[in-house]
């Protein structure tokens, strides 16, 4: 299986731990990931707010590059995933936009036929690789670790087709496959506040609080995420939550970090030290630490 | 060859129970579609005689559409299957005669599928429009003239 890999800006910055754990995990599963050469920012939500067609062109460049590179395009960041999917939809649904973007791409010697399949890691892990294969490769089952699977919004809504929009299951399956205990987490697709934590903190932090509170009430040891912004919000604002609402110290990790752990990959390769709220204590308590 | 205001002329032969009723429903629902269709009602698509299509083309139709009940739903239990056999045969024949496949079409449309009538009508008109006029009558005339000349030259 061959995929182009679209990191997106966050995985090079605040979300480094995602990339750090993602690549080794796919390597361990025998999947070839090559980073899309000279990719650019997907445009996120902000670009759409300024100019829709330029936004489409910006994302279009990545799609064009991916089409040249061949193979499916893996976008681990929820925002990137959504924007790329959305751009594809627009290009196929709206001739006007297609024309504009096509023209613009032409100006720099690029073109896009609409052939690229945009994929999320969860999709690839469950539908291409398969839960069975993964569970066979487990060397350190996450026995006793209670995990709240948090999908966030943008990977299941509104375009994703690989999982149920109201009650997604792919992450649940993967966590069970590596021996973790999945807690029933009704907030699994609720919003983390996105950029509001930065722009209107009082609003953003209240959303973060709701998510953390429910997770601990349901007895979760950690929250597992698949989006750098979700991880950032839930992990980095717990001091605020503690001061504004109630004491909170809930480790928030990427699913790929947990998978890596179960596959027996070296801890330091998984960026587990990058959590503002450290995950090590609970892992130690559950005797899941290894070198 | 098509002059600017050429409009495709398509003869539609619809069965009374499903497709003709569906066409009525399209009307009752005020759906708008291309005005190029001229519907001829028969009781069952099984009444369709290949001659009807040939005659229509010979009389200047640019396309012929047959509409019947979905397989299994025929009001007369299997008239539409009988029609299907003839239509398959005829389609091959028409192609040999140099009449493009898009000019002759069969559609199963049930009484409740008014929207499908609209879709099919518009789609077929668009396809036939793209093909341009068939103008078989003119061709036949030319043909007769040639034949006459032939015979003249033989003498």
């Amino acid at each position: 299986m061959k995929y182009s890999y679209f990191p997106g800006c966050s995985l090079k910055g605040t979300g480094r731990a995602y990339e750090e754990s993602l690549l080794p995990v796919f390597k361990a599963l025998g999947v070839d990931m090559t980073e899309l050469d000279d990719w650019n920012c997907c445009g996120a939500t902000a670009y759409m707010s300024v100019d829709e067609v330029k936004a489409a062109a910006l994302a279009g460049r990545n799609l064009a590059l991916a089409e040249k590179a061949g193979g499916d395009l893996m976008a681990p960041c929820a925002a990137c995933y959504l924007v790329l999917m959305k751009t594809q939809k627009r290009l196929e649904e709206y001739p006007a936009v297609r024309g504009e973007v096509g023209h613009a791409l032409g100006q720099v010697g690029l073109s896009y036929e609409g052939k690229v399949k945009v994929r999320h890691p969860l999709d690839i892990l469950v539908n291409d690789i398969g839960v069975e294969v993964i569970s066979k490769k487990v060397v350190k089952p996450l026995k006793g670790l209670k995990v709240a699977p948090y999908y966030g919004c943008q990977i299941v809504r509104p375009y994703a087709t690989f999982d149920n929009q109201e009650n997604p299951q792919t992450m649940d399956k993967l966590l069970r496959a590596v021996g973790a205990e999945v807690v029933d987490y009704p907030m699994k697709t609720k919003c983390c506040g996105g950029s509001l934590t930065g722009t209107l903190p009082e609003v953003g932090v209240s959303l973060v609080h709701g998510l953390l509170r429910e997770a601990s009430r349901r007895g979760a040891d950690v929250i597992s995420t698949v989006c750098p912004l979700c991880q950032f919000n839930l992990d980095c604002f717990q001091d605020r939550v503690s001061s504004n609402y109630e004491k909170s110290a809930m480790p928030v990790v990427y699913i790929t970090q947990l998978l890596g752990l179960a596959l027996g990959l070296p801890m330091k390769e998984l960026g587990l030290h990058r959590g503002v709220v450290s995950v090590e204590p609970i892992l130690a308590q559950r005797e899941l630490l290894h070198v | 060859m098509a002059d600017a205001n050429w409009e495709p002329r398509i003869v539609a032969i619809f069965c009374n129970w499903c497709t003709y009723t569906a066409a009525d429903m399209a009307g009752v629902s005020r759906m708008k579609y291309a005005a190029n269709m001229r519907i001829v009602r028969v009781m069952c698509s099984g009444r369709f005689d290949p001659q009807f299509a040939l005659d229509a083309f010979a009389q200047g139709a640019d396309g012929v559409l047959i509409g019947g009940c979905h397989p299994g739903d025929c009001h007369y239990s299997e008239g539409n299957y009988k029609a299907l056999r003839r239509i398959r045969m005829l389609k091959r024949m028409l192609v040999d005669m140099g009449i493009a496949p898009d000019r002759f079409r069969l559609e199963w449309i049930s009484a409740s599928e008014g929207d499908k009538v609209k879709l099919v009508m518009n789609d077929m008109v668009a396809k036939v429009r793209a093909l341009g006029p068939l103008s078989l009558p003119e061709k036949l005339k030319e043909f007769d003239v040639e034949v006459a000349l032939e015979q003249a030259s033989v003498r």
Binding site: - | R9, A23, G46, D55, A56, A61, H75, S77, E113
Partner: protein
């Protein structure tokens, strides 16, 4: 000179109808009429406001008399709507009705065309085709076939029950076929009925027992129609009577077998109470089941599973010997002249709207479950005890579950607002709980319906205008602990509200039966994609179908409440009676016949006929068509290699001239 037979020179009259602005709004009717006047054989052409009106029809009669018309073209609406009207007018005017040809310039022109010019051209083409066709028309006589006075009613809900009783009262033989072990349908499961609040059982069960005891009604429960042959007046229907394992003629419904069953306690979910109660393998669906005959469920009965049961039920039945483990399904063939389909509806499955937590939270109920819960003969004896054993102090009723939503069903289910009001009243009456109704629009049209809404307002029930987003057990405040929280926007107040309740009731919408498409095929009628049977005309033929002799009543035609259902059931019965009492049906004379001298005796037509109407006369070496059996599809006509079969009203010459007519533009 012409006569009623329409012989002699063509004297065609063309009438172009305005249909108010329905046609005139898009088609230049005057222009069309003017054009028609120029066509060969046309001696008169008019446009008129409403051709179907009395004056319109008078006009036709007058012209036939004065202008000696011998053919008539009416360009108006669809022949499916008014052909009989205009043929009738011609007949009254002394002209054979089959010398009339209708042109559909409303449904298939004015209503579907944007451009006025194009619509007018289309109308001209179609009129021209009709004028071309008419000279080939021959005077014809209607066919008469006798109507078998026996009637088949499929579905024993309130609709089927009412039709059956009406027909039986008129002295007609009725077969009532129901697939469940008892008749009564959904209504039997209801507690009270809106807006009068009379108890469903009190008004229904007398009718049920009347069905059982009526000499003219043969009631077959646990039965399915599996085959239908024939046509209006003469249908042959095959019914499969599934084994009940208790002999109807011997069982008196004493229930001793049930008491004696080796299962001391009922332990299987009982269907009638929506699984809220339990039953034994041998059981009565409910106390007033009709017929009051026990039934054995082989899936749960030990004797059927192991063959090693003590059969205490048989002992209890003693020398009545009503129980018969050997009973087999039984095929019955019956002959009827007409059919009424009253197969009812299926409630929307709330598992398809996961946000409301049905199946996840045990105190989320469907409306039908609540009907049983508040019912005195229900699983809790009428006490509202929830699955968690508690009585609710607060209840949220969510309207439009599965209705008015592109993601589920787009239609309004019509009854949910009213039954939600009813349930609100009943729940308040039983528990005194705070009741919150969450609605999008409150729809209470109907006699004394809106007054009922007023009554509920008086009772202090809350009405919040907003579609519920979710039912959750995630709590944000102490007062929400242990409750189900309903989140919705109070659209009138303009705020989002979180309302903690003990119980949630889902007002699930109405859907077509799962097997509606199969039933439709069986009876050769039409059915919408939504699973509701298609009436012949939404206003003018609401209980008729496109198949003569087959009628529909109740929710199988569309969501409907009890009053409307009963009204339709009566209407269907009346339509049936009209056919039966006429004694015969008039059939279109569009049958086929063989031109003997031209028949080559190749027999290719014989095999084609689905009705075995064509036979081969060996000594003559010619085919022969039995016109009584011929349904007039015309398949054989198209197939005859020697062109020696003709079909009335659809002669080759008529169709060819129509085709040439639409194409030969001046």
């Amino acid at each position: 000179m012409s006569d009623a037979k329409g012989n002699g020179a063509m004297r065609i009259g063309v009438y172009v109808c305005h249909c108010g602005t329905n046609i005139a709004g898009k088609v230049d009717v005057a222009e069309v009429a003017k054009y028609a006047g120029t066509l060969p054989g046309v001696v008169l052409s008019r446009d008129y406001k409403y051709m179907c009106s009395d004056p319109g029809q008078e006009l036709i009669k007058k012209d036939i008399a004065e202008q000696k018309l011998n053919r008539i073209v009416i360009a108006s609406c669809s022949p499916l709507l008014h052909e009989h009207t205009f043929r009738g007018a011609a007949e009254k005017g002394g002209l054979n009705p089959y010398l009339v040809q209708m042109v559909n310039i409303r449904e298939q022109d004015a209503w579907v065309t944007e451009d006025r010019g194009a619509a007018t051209t289309k109308a001209k083409d179609l009129v021209r085709a009709a004028v071309r066709r008419l000279p080939f028309h021959q005077p014809l006589e209607k066919k008469h076939v006798p109507v078998n006075p026996a009637v088949l009613v499929v579905g024993g809900g309130i609709a089927g029950i009412h039709s059956a009783l009406t027909l039986a009262a008129a002295g007609k033989k009725v077969y009532l076929v129901e697939r469940e072990p008892t008749i009564g349908g959904k209504m039997a499961q209801f507690d009270k009925t809106f807006p009068t609040l009379d108890c469903a059982a009190c008004i229904l069960t007398p009718k049920m027992s009347a069905v059982r005891s009526h000499p003219n009604i043969t009631l077959w429960t646990m039965s399915d129609v599996v085959k239908v042959d024939g046509f209006v007046g003469d249908y042959k229907v095959t019914v499969n009577r599934r084994a009940r394992y208790v002999k109807e003629e011997l069982c008196v419904g004493c229930s001793e077998c049930i008491a004696a069953c080796v299962y001391k306690d009922a332990k299987f979910p009982d269907e009638f109470n929506m699984g809220l109660g339990k039953r034994k393998p041998i059981y009565l669906p409910f106390p007033q089941s009709t017929p009051l005959v026990a039934v054995i469920d082989p899936a749960t009965c030990i004797e059927f599973k192991t063959g090693k049961c003590k059969k205490t039920c048989v002992e209890a039945c003693a020398d009545r010997k009503a129980i018969d483990f050997q009973m087999k399904d039984e095929m019955k063939e019956i002959a009827v002249g007409t059919v009424i389909l009253s197969t009812g509806f299926k409630p929307f499955d709330p598992k398809n709207t996961p946000n409301f937590g049905y199946g996840k939270f045990k105190n989320v109920y469907t409306a039908l479950e609540v009907e049983r819960l508040v019912n005195a003969s229900g699983p809790t004896g009428g006490e509202v005890i929830m699955r968690d054993g508690k009585e609710p102090k607060s209840v949220g009723i969510i309207h439009c579950v599965g209705s008015r939503d592109e993601k589920t069903n787009r239609w309004c289910s019509r009854v949910c607002c009213m039954y939600s009001l009813k349930l609100a009243h009943l729940l308040k009456e039983h528990t005194g709980a705070e009741i919150y109704n969450f609605y999008i629009d409150m729809r209470t049209p109907g006699k004394a319906y809106d007054e009922f809404y007023g009554k509920l307002l008086d009772e202090g029930v809350h009405f919040i205008r907003g579609k519920v987003a979710e039912v959750t057990d995630c709590t944000l405040r102490p007062d929400e602990e242990g409750k189900l929280v309903i989140r919705a926007e109070d659209t009138l107040a303009g705020f989002v509200r979180r309302i903690p309740v003990d119980m949630v009731v889902l007002a699930t919408g109405l859907e077509g039966q799962a097997d509606a498409q199969d039933v439709r095929r069986l009876f050769n009628i039409s059915c919408s994609a939504e699973g509701f049977f298609l009436e012949r005309h939404p206003k003018l033929a609401p209980v008729s179908t496109f198949t003569d002799g087959v009628f529909i009543a109740g929710a199988c035609q569309g969501p409907k409440d009890i009053p409307d259902t009963v009204a339709q059931a009566g209407a269907a019965a009346a339509e049936v009676l009209a056919l039966i009492d006429a004694g015969h049906v008039e059939l279109e004379p569009n049958t086929a016949s063989i031109i003997e001298e031209e028949c080559s005796g190749c027999k290719s037509c014989v095999a084609l006929c689905s009705y075995n109407a064509i036979s081969f006369i060996a000594d003559k070496k010619k085919a022969w068509i039995n016109e009584v059996l011929c349904k007039g599809c015309g398949t054989c006509v198209a197939a005859c290699p020697s062109g020696s079969i003709r079909q009335n009203l659809f002669e080759d010459a008529e169709i060819f001239s129509e085709i040439e007519g639409v194409l030969s533009r001046g």
